[in-house]
Symmetry: C2
Subunit: 334 residues, 2 copies
Amino acid sequence: MKKENSAPTMKDVAREAGVALGTVSKVVNGLPVGDSYKARVEEAIKKLNYQVNSYAQGLKANKTYTVALLIPNTRDPFFGLLAFHINLALLKRKYRMLLLCTDSDSAQEQEYITMAQQNKVDGIIGLTYNPNLIIEENTPFVSIDRSLGSKIPCVACDNFAGGQLAAEKLSDLGCKKVAFLRVGSSLNNEPNKRKAGFENGCLSRSLEYEMKIINDGESFEQFVDFLKEHMKDGRLEFDGIFCVTDGLAHFTYNQLLALGLRVPEDVQLIGFDGTRYFGTSEYICSTIVQPVPEMAEMCVELLLQESMTTKPPLVCLPVTYAYGGTTLEPKFEE
Amino acid sequence: MKKENSAPTMKDVAREAGVALGTVSKVVNGLPVGDSYKARVEEAIKKLNYQVNSYAQGLKANKTYTVALLIPNTRDPFFGLLAFHINLALLKRKYRMLLLCTDSDSAQEQEYITMAQQNKVDGIIGLTYNPNLIIEENTPFVSIDRSLGSKIPCVACDNFAGGQLAAEKLSDLGCKKVAFLRVGSSLNNEPNKRKAGFENGCLSRSLEYEMKIINDGESFEQFVDFLKEHMKDGRLEFDGIFCVTDGLAHFTYNQLLALGLRVPEDVQLIGFDGTRYFGTSEYICSTIVQPVPEMAEMCVELLLQESMTTKPPLVCLPVTYAYGGTTLEPKFEE
């Protein structure tokens, strides 16, 4: 039974509407749900007089100067770099950072969000692939790379522009027929836009292209088969390849060598992320560089900015191209 | 003025003895200091009846289930991997982890140690190069790779055995004259033992060797000069090289190629750490692998084990050799 005088919670709304908690979460955070569900939730909110703002107010009064970072791991170089810069951005502002690597246990993510809601942390920055997160309205949360609803700011690099830039670069470097290799995600995340950007770039340059897309969790061997199918008389039909990540570009590089091809002389290769050897040394491949320090700063700014009443739902920060040995060398200063 | 009834602190001891706080810290933690300093500190401790155990007792009664990790950054692959596994080991035990990347600001390290002493965290795991850390007696602290005194457990891989294994491997793989390239540290840290282990291995196999050692912060160009000085008629005088880290091995690999040498046909190359492409893919070079998950578990075990009255001052965990393309391929199962 609900205690007297206590404000209604999202759980109460779910019970009243006869829907799952996740559905209420989606409605209050502006994510799409079926019309009939939406109507039931809105009716329940009205009936119970559910106050979506109560938490944010409570948090202001009771600061912990602690922020939680949810990230799959710090072993992957992109995640490790991101965690480092978010840590620096928080420390600069005298905030402490709790790290929760979620590779092992996605239930822990939900625990951390609950902790934020109980004011044990001032907010959360999350790069999460968990499709079932429940986030109370106005829990201070900034998402990286994936939109969790129109009311939760999402910070990403400009993935569309990055895909387009890759196509334009390959065209500028003399490629006539290119391929895009991608590991797709069923989640509606920002990196998926690399594909649309790449297609757009190819079309604008009248550059012929093919795509090979596999799903998350499927074997990279499908890419090997794709490459083999496009070999003719010891030559590859493509003279340029854009891979959706540097990790995939590195894998592809090894496959191309195994097929007896030279990189970049026979095939030019561009990855995405800006991964460097040992974090600070040269680029592992020619790549579209994500502006990680700027993304980290933006996450922290948006999270801690209390006076901002309307936060931007999506912030895309500019990417750059970097030469990393797998494309022809630039002839001029660029 | 000291308040009545409050227990004497390390600061009081320093004032009484007329020495710096760091000196008192060294004495209570069993680090070497000059005899006269030691005598003065011990006299002051006796006179003030300074109780070195007070903190540890306080901590037991007032748990936060939070541990701080001090680490230079999570951008370097070894640090990123270590942070990830320490995070997993703590989460498994329902502890939260504060991350403090200290690359930017070593003063922050001291702040975190003070926080631990004020019971805001239950303990600290630290991989630190700060030579002036002040750690109160019995602050729960586990150090990685560097001894901070006989009363603070230090966890490392078996660096001596790793150096020896590298020499033995190069010998087994047919090398006749080898080189050791090292970036030395003035701190008395565990990775320094790689050198002694390597020399020992060379001597036991009657393997001829030379060493090139530069100091932290000096330019890697000195290694390039060293290699050039040992070129004769387009051949290098060494047929094997052991580098103190994978990062240096990667650098050296590129230099050898630039000199027109083939790796591993002309020169075999072994690094140290066990760095993999993208954290989980293949090894970047043939390498001595640090047992990072086991090191992380050991750090957490030693930190949280309260019933253990005498903690081991140094724990060295076994290393292994891994083939990573820069040595001749193993002919048999090893």
